[in-house]
């Protein structure tokens, strides 16, 4: 069973539009961590945010914001006023301390294209 689902395979938006990337996770642990990473065409994964399961406060960092809702097992990522440089593949990931085999489980990714 897929533990991290990113239902949107590809998204295209016009520059300056807002866009939300969805992430739904599955875990039986009460303690877990969620991450978002950005992978530009160069290939290197860039860390964006880490959130533990006990902190449901939403977070804003510049044009980026994250909405964590345990009730729906979702950790969605919104980019406000998108820019061409935001074009990349975005991965949501889950870490369960109790899982010895899959240290960090990545979703399949959402490819975002921002059109000028």
């Amino acid at each position: 069973a897929q533990k991290v689902t990113q239902a949107q395979t590809e998204i295209s938006v016009v520059e300056k539009e807002d866009v939300t990337l969805d992430c739904v996770y599955e875990t039986r642990d009460t303690t877990y961590y969620l991450f978002w990473y950005k992978q530009p065409p160069s290939g290197e994964l860039v860390f964006l945010i880490r959130r533990n399961s006990f902190d449901e406060q939403n977070e804003i960092s510049g044009r980026y914001s994250w909405n964590f809702q345990k009730s729906t097992s979702s950790f969605n990522f919104t980019i406000t006023a998108s820019q061409v440089v935001d074009s990349a593949v975005y991965f949501c990931a889950l870490s369960e301390p109790s899982n010895p085999y899959d240290k960090v489980i990545f979703g399949p990714g959402t490819s975002l294209s921002v059109i000028p």
Binding site: V4, F47, F91, S95, D102, K103, F106, G109
Partner: protein, 114 residues
């Protein structure tokens, strides 16, 4: 400070050969993890090493092995290469052993098996 470095950048091998990929973590980081990313998919965990000991292993065959050196750098070895091993191999480092730590990734080694 330098980030995670990996070598080589690209590699082309033929089926049946073996390959060694190298990774140097961020200075001060003691944990190194390896991931395989097949085109169009998310990274998949292969190994984690902390203080030169294996701390986790993903669902990969025994053809895959790794080790960590006293300076915390690491090597990933793959024997008897198959076409399906073609992928981007990513190395990530973190300060401590916990998988819940933030991991910082290198640029990857792109392996092509012909």
């Amino acid at each position: 400070d330098a980030g995670v470095t990996q070598s080589p950048t690209h590699l082309i091998k033929t089926r049946g050969q073996h390959v060694t990929l190298r990774c140097s973590p961020i200075s001060g980081h003691k944990s190194v993890s390896w991931y395989q990313q097949v085109l169009g998919q998310g990274p998949q965990f292969i190994f984690q090493y902390y203080e030169k000991e294996e701390r986790g292993r993903g669902n990969f065959p025994d053809r895959f092995s790794a080790r960590q050196f006293p300076n915390y750098s690491s090597e990933l070895n793959v024997n008897a290469l198959l076409l399906g091993d073609s992928a981007l191999y990513l190395c990530a480092s973190s300060p401590q052993r916990e998988s819940t730590d933030t991991q910082y990734f290198g640029p990857g080694t792109r392996l092509t098996v012909l």
